[in-house]
Amino acid sequence: MSPDVSFFVEVVVGGLLSGVMYALVAIGFVLIYKTSGVLNFAQGAMVLFAALTFVSLVERGLPVPAAFAATLAVMALVGLAVERAVLRPLVNQPPITLFMATLGVAYVIEGAAQLAWGTQVHALDLGIDDTPLEFGGVLVSRFDLVAAAIAGVLVAVLTLFFHTTRTGLAFRAVADDPLAALGIGLRLPRIWSAVWIASGVVALVAGLLWGARLGVQFSLSLVVLKALPVLVLGGFDSIAGAIVAGLIVGAAEKLAEVYLGPVIGGGIEGWFAYVAALALLLVRPAGLFGRRSVERA
């Protein structure tokens, strides 16, 4: 390959792998939005809280599997508590009220995380060696490959869960038509609880992988900003959409930064993903995979 071509491939591959990381955060949003119509902005705080709890437990001498199990339990509890204490009393309120409530929850979780574990920064070493691999002149990050694999496993597990278990089936029924689901006797609160627990678990996985990339610190909660354009593009209610949109957003923003950046000025990644998602939405208003009927003007 000529250097230019291999560079292009490198940019695209790097972008796709970053995109998987965005999708990982986006899935946490999708799970909750799909069943209860809530854009859960506390997802970022949950990612931070999960990573901080895990790393603090490890630093206090807990073996990694034990720390992981403990954090898993904590995150499930956090998800459950948010659902019980905040979302359930607000059921049937307009979406924007729910959205604001999750922002309030984000304050509480961020405050609690720092109060409990301090404001220090931490390194999180998952034991994945990050020297780059080379394929015919193209460098690929080993860490990102592993992360993508883990994200893939997570998606597979979630998909299996929704398609084979009873709870999963109920979940899909609720997502399709809450009233009908209620009508046939599905217990909505139990499903909401399950979904919030699941989103706590997704936050843990995202927290560990992003924490290993960034270090565990307050800025970890900002990763949601990378997930939002993915959500717009993929639809707020589609896991497959989140994955595909994540790949598109990741590759597009890297290509834009590298090839368009020098022309109009660098540092455009911050807004480019939003504009790209928007441009696509003007053609397909419900996103790539979102349900069409809902949000069209």
Binding site: F7, E10, V11, G14, G15, S18, Q114, G118, T119, Q120, V121, H122, A123, L124, D125, D130, T131, P132, L139, S141, F143, D144, W210, R213, L214, G215, V216, Q217, F218, S219, L222, V223, K226, E253, K254, E257, V258, G261, G265, G266, G267, I268, E269, G270
Partner: protein, 453 residues
């Protein structure tokens, strides 16, 4: 400088106190706009912790400065400008304010008009507005030790040293990775200027805030194949830069960090990938300096230390806080020799900062030999010709790897003056005549000394 015995000084102080504008007990107050929460909490706890530790040391060891006790209180800002302003407005009417030390460029900018009207010094150690170096236009602002321009020059001098001389920079390529903010962009023209002068190629690449994703920037660097990468980062951007450098195969040993990319908080999250990384500093880290040891004994061993974690004693931000304490306290001390051993007004402390001259002997006497080099603040030069050194991260601690380097102040001064002159014009200010002030000052200083005697 008048020689005064302690008793005479006390008497003079007491006399002045009786005359003074109703100043309360002899206390000098430091209002602290600290940030211990939020994204920059790690830096804030270190810096303000070190500052408070030093004030504590001076109080417990010396009973304050010539009997004037140092006091302080904190207002949390989370590094947000409007909170900083709120804290300023809340604390500004307290008696005996010595100086403001926000350690935040944004808060400092919002305070410039306010402190100038209130006649209290504003200390922006290592940061702040480059043109406030010109004390003729900014009488109350002190960007002590280092401004962004001299930092740039210091880094280029250091790289030249690694190559074996400034002439060896010719034909080299340096990539500057900067944070997408006014702070990050400030040095763009200086790198361009120095590149032209020394014949190296410079490529400046922006990382959008917050900088948690840098794949594309480092791929661009990989294509550029620079000899060095300068990191002008902030917060999470720094560890991500080091991690992504490793991912794209750029060696950490050829990355040089600026003054906001030089702390433990910037490298620890990057883990293994930060090994070998070098960064500029005005104060060496480590706890081996006598003044830090004294703080350990007199403050921490008595349970009065400010850092929650003793392991952070001697870290970059903690030592910067201690150094900031030394500079503030010495400015007060110098001003006291001129105005009397009592609670000083902000304007008097400003005079102290404008005569803050600590040579290497004085620095050693303060127990800070090796911690920092020297400072020489004047009416016209509020930066004070701070020297810089470079430290390398070995995975656990920083080690000094260079001498104390002198930035090329002579080259920078005309650019700074052009900018400050424009500011003066925009704001309708007449620059001070420093020479005339010094003369008048010497006259009245003699009289004051005679009065004290």
């Amino acid at each position: 400088m008048p020689r005064t015995t302690p008793i005479r000084a006390l008497l003079a102080g007491a006399a002045l106190l009786a005359l003074g504008a109703g100043a309360s007990a002899a206390e000098q107050y430091f209002p602290l706009q600290s940030y211990r929460v939020g994204p920059y909490a790690a830096g804030g706890t270190g810096f303000f912790g070190g500052f408070i530790d030093y004030l504590n040391l001076v109080n417990s060891r010396d009973g304050g400065v010539n009997g004037v006790k140092l006091t302080w209180s904190e207002g949390e800002t989370q590094y947000e400008v409007e909170r900083g302003v709120e804290v300023y407005e809340r604390l500004k009417s307290r008696p005996g304010i010595a100086a403001w030390n926000p350690l935040s460029v944004g808060i400092a900018y919002a305070m410039i008009d306010r402190i100038t009207a209130d006649k209290v010094p504003l200390i922006t150690i290592n940061d702040g507005r480059t043109d406030s170096t010109d004390g003729r236009v900014f009488p109350y602002v002190f960007p002590l030790l280092l401004n962004p321009y001299s930092e740039t020059s210091g880094i280029v001098e250091y790289l030249a040293g690694r190559e074996g001389g400034l002439d060896r920079l010719k034909g080299k390529t340096i990539a500057v990775l900067y944070h997408g903010s006014p702070y990050g962009k400030e040095t763009i023209p200086i790198y361009d200027l120095l590149a032209k002068r020394y014949g190296f190629k410079v490529e400046q690449i922006e990382v959008p805030h917050p900088g948690n994703e840098q794949q594309s920037q480092w791929l661009a660097i990989r294509r550029l194949k620079p000899d060095y990468v300068v990191l002008r980062g902030w917060g999470v951007m720094n560890p991500v830069a080091l991690k992504t450098a490793q991912k794209t195969g750029f060696p950490a040993g050829r990355i040089v960090g600026n003054v906001w990319s030089n702390s433990e908080e910037d490298v620890i999250p990057a883990g293994e990938s930060a090994k070998g990384y070098v960064a500029i500093t005005t104060q060496a880290s480590g706890a081996q300096y006598p003044v830090i040891q004294e703080i350990v004994r007199a403050v921490y061993d008595k349970g009065a230390g400010n850092l929650a974690d003793r392991k952070r004693i001697g870290s970059v931000y903690h030592n910067l806080g201690v150094l900031n304490g030394i500079l503030n306290v010495e400015a007060v001390r110098i001003a006291q020799e001129r105005f009397g051993h009592r609670t000083l007004t902000g304007d008097e402390v400003r005079w102290g900062f404008e005569h803050l001259r600590l040579d290497e002997a004085r620095v050693a006497a303060l127990g800070a030999k090796g911690l920092f080099h020297s400072i020489n603040v004047t009416c016209a030069n509020h930066e004070g010709e701070g020297r810089v050194t470079f430290q390398q991260w070995d995975g656990a601690k920083w080690t000094v790897v260079s001498d104390w380097i002198k930035p090329d102040w002579a080259t920078l001064r005309p650019i700074i003056e052009a900018s400050s002159t424009a500011y003066a014009k925009e704001h309708g200010l007449t620059p001070r005549d420093c020479a005339a002030e010094e003369r008048a000052d010497a006259q009245s200083g003699k009289r004051a000394a005679a009065d004290i005697k």
